[in-house]
Amino acid sequence: MSKDKEIKGYRQQPGKIPFAKPGSGGREPFSKLRDLEMIPKSEGGYRAQPKGKNRHDHLLTGSTIGRRTPLVDSNWKVTGQAKYGDDIRLPNELIGRILRSPHHYARIRSIDTSEAESIKGVLAVETGQKHTDLFGVLPVTKDEHAMAVDKVRHVGDLVACVAAENESVALEALRKIKVDYEVLNPIIDMKKSLKDVEEPIHNRGKYHIGRSNVQKRVFQEFGNFESVKNPYVSSKSKWKYAGVNHGFTEPHAVVADWEPSGRLTLYTPQQVPHYVHRSLADVLKIPMHQINVHRTFVGGGFGGKSDPFPHEMCAAILARKTGRPVRITFDRDEVFYTNRGRHPSHIEMNLHADKEGRICGIETDALIDGGGFASFGHVTTYYNGVLHTAPYEIGSFHYTGARVWTNKPASGAMRGHGAVNSRCAVELGIDDICEQLEVDPITFRLANLLPPHSSTITGFRITSIGMRDCLEKVREACDWEQKFRKLPFGHGIGIGCGFFISGSGLPIHWDPNKFPHATVHLKIDMDGGVTIHTGAADIGQGSDTVVAQSVSEVLGLPIEMIRVKSRDSDTSPVDLGSYSSRVTFMNANAAISAAIKIRDELIKATADICNVEEKSLVIGDRRIYQKKDPAVGVSYLEALHKAQEERGALISSGAYRTPPMGGVHKGAAAGLAPAYSFSAYAAEVKVDAETGITEVVKVWAAHDCGRALNPLSVEGQIIGSCHMGLGQVLTEEMRYTKKGNLLNPNLLEYKIPTIHEMPEVVPIIVESNDPEGPFGAKEAGEGPLLPILPAVCNAVYDAIGIRTNELPITPDKLYKLIEKKVRSLKLDSPLNLPNPKLNYSKLQNTLEDRADNHKVRDQDRKLDPKREPYYNGTIFGKVSTIPPEEQDERWTLSVTPSEEYLANPRLAGSAWKHVEVRHMKRGDET
């Protein structure tokens, strides 16, 4: 097809440059990229990694995927023009404030609001009495009210709310609300919540577990337990983890506006706008179509903004009553009362290994403190167990977990949801086992990894796995051989690994059945720019950028031609939200399938113009042309305008739903994901044995994200995760007094590491090319947090020979352990403590050989499309292609405890001593 024919219809003087096409931007159509000099580069990720093929390979046009792309919303943020929750200022707004409980646990006898209502400038005072509908993020555990109906469950629980002309008046009104409480006996210690009490914190009716405060209990037994009965070496530890808060920069803020149309618009910095949408409909008793949830810019979420919140309900209630916009912005202490941070936990971790250096058993018992409400706790209870069944092949897995209510602010989901604490315990256990076996901990790990495309002991489907690459790259980068057990006293290095889900396989709300997890709409009009409508919540992690990149890549357009509209539920298709590291995997997959439809139309149009076969065409940078003869083709705009003939704007819709997978036992869906991320970190620390002060000097952080769609933001996530994890391991802690008062609900006393505590982090990106991920990508938002905790703890051991079992390792706690050891060894000074040493045993050679063999095995499995199944247990001599339960008679698979176990249960396991109300015999209920 000649060029003359192509531009027919446009006036053109001979010899002149053709006129710009409509919508092309004239003669300077290229936007200029921004300067990226100041951003640290990854080391180690550039080396060629054998990837194998990916189903999206043919869609690559070289536009943006794999390039360091600044986030599409970054300019708003760095110039201070981004509108966060509190920046939404509507005309005629009122200020809402919330009255909170001063008691840990009390029954509300009465509330007198008359005096508050009579204050000039107060427009509405609302209490919980009229709004009794329950809501909660998980449909199975809805237990929250907009405001307390009968009982307050922790200091800071919502009692009433006020809308007034300004904050001073609102605060004055709060002081005038008279609440008559009957104070009840609070439960602060989570261990006490396991027992039956007079007045459990919640009443779940027939599903209540005895008369206890156990909210959720889990029992799981998988494997052959013969080898555990007489293991070669064991590591047993009892851990105590303090609760931590997300510490995001932006406190919660919400604006509710009941518009003249009679519809409600709720402006809120939310990770899960869709669940807020549902909850608002429940609480306000109006249909969902009457509500528009507008997600503002989110100043950090990390899981802390992934519940529908009572204050969001309050703002809507006040707006409905006053007919004016109501804005509620939290003080920092209110953020701590809302919490939803990581659960304070007691974890008992027993690891067993056999003579061959194989992990023959993991026995975990996790008691987690849920605070006053359920939140995500149902899932957290499972995650504390099931998320440490990989990346190692294990002989048996025994897990008992319980989440209990206490009269404290509710715990919930936080970056690395449920996996962080137990992972730390596992990785320290492995270090301890290696110490006993006298082998190198990296070699030990390399010799015990699951291969690609395998099945874990509980039936998770592992597809891509870059764990081996992570470990090897970190070992090389940090100069492990020269440092481990060889550094002088007080100076140490340690290793830790991580494993995390890349998108929860089961959506939280699975009604209506077979709904997709993510949906993306595209719209392109004659200007050529692509509008993406998606409900995925960009909380700073860069989900807008990822979806823009995916579309730009498939259509061969620069990212500047893509605009993402992801804020309003009115215009966005439903997306479940930014949790469980699901957005890149699911939303980008949905975006790709939507873009493929547009791509097909463009190719068809080009084929029509050029009169060639569709199959012969490819898309390049704003041009569609024949692959074998690139001169034959048209520009993107020409193809687009052709495709638009007779119909106008092109639109398309794409969706993603996880494939069927996993086992059928109770709880099989928990932890199930279409892909998993892996990571390995090494941390170098200096410990002052005289003061117990730990300083992290440098971190080498390798993370397998499948494929780095945007290496810049993957590295950002790795570095940010290190900072957050370092907080939990070194300084951060929600401190409660014995009576249950939270001592540090402010950012001066809640010790987030400052720039002085932040070590140099060397991010190493490992790309395992996931077969189902968008262009091969997996998550990079939560998994990178996991390994930093055990890496630092193991490094502390390497430095001074002391194993901690309590986080955070604040100097006072570490010093106590140092003193104890100094006393037991009868030394004069902590500086004389013995420095840990390592002399390899014979097993080291065996493990090295096994690791080498496995490396070949893994590579083969990865590249072989006709690979056979591989089940966990093969390393113990089972047939790799048959599920272990079908070949081992003594294989146990149980999700309820036996009588024998209940005779002598572990701590969290004792939750199973109670009988659920519905299973009680008549007469037992009282």
Partner: protein
Amino acid sequence: MKSPPFKLFQPTSIDEAIEISKKFVQEQEDFDWIAGGTDLLPNYKWHLNTKPNVISLASIEELHRLDSEHIGAMVRLHDLAKSEFAHPIIRKAASSIASVLIRQSGTVGGNIALDTRCFWFNQAEEWRRSIEWCHKCDCGTSADCRVIPNQNELCVATYQADLAPSLLVLNAKIHLCGPEGSRTLFLSEFFELDGIKRNVLKQGEIITHLTLDNDISSWSGDYQKLSLRKSWDFPEAGVAVAWRLSDESNNENFELRIATTALESVPRLHQKLTSDALKNNSTIDEIASKLKKDVKPVNNTTFPPNYRKKMVEVLCKKALGGLKGVL
């Protein structure tokens, strides 16, 4: 979170400032002084002992003077830390205070007269209501002390400022000015053992400046502090030492001073301890161990008192490190 409204006065001379304060004292009206405001304003936002009137010292030129022997009360901590005039111990202490931003605003006088701190006190209003208030800010309820209950006499809130011990070991004099005139005293006489009263300042009186002896350059020393993070945090323990060797071969004319902060309601110069130590020719370890026994922290800061006490020994050893071979 909003501070209650207050009326701000901005005098431009000491006389004018004292004039204003005198009036308030006579009329028995409550007021506060404000210097850098880095401590007062956060406290106001938490509704901690707020007053209806606030007198700012920022516009009084004469309070800003800084040279080797004279440190004005309104000298910014940042300027002190960077000053060529200031003694190295003072520079070290000043540069360790809070963060750069706070040092840019916080002042010497404000740091010396810093309000005492306690985790039952430095909390938002709602929080304090949940513990039914405390002795230091009882909101008219005459609430008990939450750290050591049943002793409604004394407030045990901790004095957590960094500058005082360094100035104490350099034997600084403090100059005050108030409605009843000016007076000068040794800094060691300035503090009073009560978390509420804190110091000898009378109603309407301000710190104008500190002076140091003209021979302080012959003193060497060190300041060591304990805090969880290297920025922002208030000290959990602080030890300043200063010594002078007139003749290095001879211990006879050896002088030594040790002061501590962040351990009690006042910073303290440990005079008896040092004089005993010199008399008995104690070693560094012995002095450090005695110092540990000489301080009595209570449980109201980040670290437990037991740990802070033990760390005083370590800090003292580190601070006296320059005397290895002498003691």
